[in-house]
């Protein structure tokens, strides 16, 4: 079956060309489904495999085997005859399958019979005093710089937070000669206790060996790795100059021009939300996940989710969830029957179960712990766009509604261009701690289109040019 797209209609629209989206597209083409993949970035690979097709060229081998693995998936995806649109943002999806996408200067409509959202993950927001100072950067951000452009700090850096990515970045920095002053691990003892019951599943996996190797390499390098660190602060005038922290009862200080922070990642669900798909609270990861069946089908029958945008399972599991969603899309489109769907999906479900085993340990060890949001200073900015400090959110929670949308409409947190990407989790955690209640009562931010800002002229281009009849209403006062 051909893959030409006529009249802006398509069988399957896949949003995101990371591992889940790419695998989805390959699977869909294997099943003969006309497929369009759209990604906001200029190259395939998502964040995890960013840079494989990038320039400038440099030796990327020190990034490790897991990164190198992405190459074959990217090559297969680029060789496939699915249609690809890069540098294009899908900024609204309606319940009837209309998607609006912008290439930065022009917006077009696509009517998709089925949609797979493979929009990946975001860094979990982790506010602390001084986190808005220039020079403070997320670990994901530092890694993207490294992978896409080979750009690294040439001065001593401090890494702080919790999660596998932080360790990975530290070893990658080590491998390419970046001076690391210290790794400040904020993972609390309570998380180790929560994770221990799942240790067996982890130890039997490849991830255990990888983690141990990373730790050994760091220890051998002599870089101080401090555990159970609390009270991170960034201090400086107009940019970060000093990192302050608490370790074993003592306040420590390090000079740093760059502080790299990380507290795990969360699914990016804004498109699923803008389409009004149901979400469910996941107590284990303390996040709202798109409610879906085992195939990734959401409450809206023609919208599915895959990869980290469905639930954080990592890059190894993402292709399997992507393939499952594509197989299910073929079923939804009437191309395969129920039995075929099951037969094709079963090996993938099996693979997911295998990959899921070590996950419980990792999720528990690096789950967002209470200390992240308990000890926030009143003056610390929670919303970076609108500069709303913690005190105002606490005050609002005490005297008014705890619904996060009500708080948004009063305080404007979540109304800036990032639409809550870096404040929603914090606002929710503060509301839960100050006033109330259940996560159900706090709810999720209602996401308004466009999910990222779009030029006025682009939206004008979607409009009718003639005056609609309803705009000719008589305006004289009537009796």
């Amino acid at each position: 079956m051909s893959n030409t797209i006529e009249d802006n209609e398509v069988d399957l629209l896949i949003v995101g060309a990371g591992p889940a989206g790419m695998a989805s597209a390959l699977q869909a083409r294997e099943l003969g489904i006309q497929t369009l993949v759209v990604d906001e970035k200029g190259q395939p690979g998502g964040q995890i495999y960013a840079g494989h097709h990038g320039s400038p060229d440099f030796d990327r081998s020190f990034l490790g085997k897991d990164y190198a693995k992405g190459r074959s998936l990217i090559d297969a995806f680029m060789a496939s005859d699915c249609r690809r649109m890069f540098k294009s943002l899908v900024w609204d999806i309606s319940q009837d399958g209309h998607a609006c996408m912008s290439d930065g200067s022009q917006t077009s409509f696509v009517l998709a019979r089925h949609v797979i959202l493979a929009s990946g993950a975001l860094e979990r927001a982790f506010p602390f005093e001084g986190w808005t100072l220039p020079g403070v950067m997320t670990a994901g951000g530092a890694q993207i710089l490294l992978k896409t452009a080979g750009i690294v700090p040439s001065h001593p850096v401090v890494l702080a937070g919790s999660g596998p990515l932080l360790l990975l970045l530290a070893t990658q920095f080590l491998a390419c000669g970046v001076p690391v002053s210290a790794v400040l691990d904020t993972t609390p003892a309570s998380n180790w206790r929560r994770a221990t019951p799942f240790l067996a599943g982890f130890l039997s996996s490849r991830l255990a060996a990888k983690g141990a190797a990373m730790l050994l390499r760091l220890r051998a390098s002599g870089i101080p790795v401090l555990g159970r660190v609390t009270q991170i602060r960034a201090i400086g005038n107009g940019k970060i100059e000093t990192v302050e922290y608490r370790h074993e009862g003592q306040i420590g200080r390090l000079q740093a021009e760059t502080l790299i922070v990380h507290q795990g990642i969360e699914p990016e669900t804004r498109l699923a939300r803008v389409a009004n798909a149901n979400h469910a609270w996941d107590a284990r990861t303390r996040s709202w996940l798109p409610a879906c069946d085992e195939f990734g089908r959401t409450s809206i029958p023609h919208i599915s989710v895959a990869g980290d945008g469905r639930a954080i399972l990592g890059a190894d599991a993402a292709p399997a969830t992507g393939r499952i969603a594509a197989i299910d899309a073929a079923f939804a489109l009437g191309r395969i029957d129920r039995d075929t769907r099951q037969r094709l999906s079963d090996p993938l479900f099996k693979e997911l179960r295998r990959l899921g085993k070590p996950r419980k340990f990792i999720d528990a060890l690096f789950s967002p712990f209470p200390g992240l949001y308990d000890n926030l200073n009143d003056s610390t900015l929670v919303c970076r766009c609108e500069e709303i400090p913690a005190a105002r959110i606490r005050e609002e929670a005490r005297r008014s509604s705890a619904d996060i949308n009500s708080v948004k409409s009063r305080l404007r947190c979540g109304m800036g261009p990032c639409q809550g990407r870096f404040c929603e989790t914090t606002v929710r955690e503060l509301l839960l701690r100050t006033a109330v209640p259940s996560c159900q009562e706090v709810g999720q931010l209602r996401i308004r289109p466009p999910i990222k800002p779009v030029g006025v002229e682009e939206i004008i281009s979607l409009g009718v040019k003639e005056i609609p009849p309803e705009s000719r209403i008589p305006l004289e006062p009537r009796a």
């Binding site: 320039s55 060229d57 452009a149 766009c385 500069e387 261009p417």
Partner: protein, 95 residues
Amino acid sequence: MFSSLANPSGEQVEITLFGREVLVPVGVTVAAAMLLSGEIAGRESLSGASHGPFCMMGACFECAVIINGKTRVRACMTEVRQGMKVERSRHVEHY
């Protein structure tokens, strides 16, 4: 400061960054070019504080600058081009 692992004799482009001409590797983003040139902030927040590249994946909008006259462009999502003019973003002064 930040430095590049790429071959120093690789192809470069010249851009005007916050009023000065700088040479940066072909193919990098404006945010990467900023960091390579020692500019870690390009935006003024509502209160006038300096903010700079933070997430590098187009989500936080902290790296918004003015590129060739167009305001609120995310430096981390924009590739450098020969002759590009990049200016600081100052809250509402510019549209």
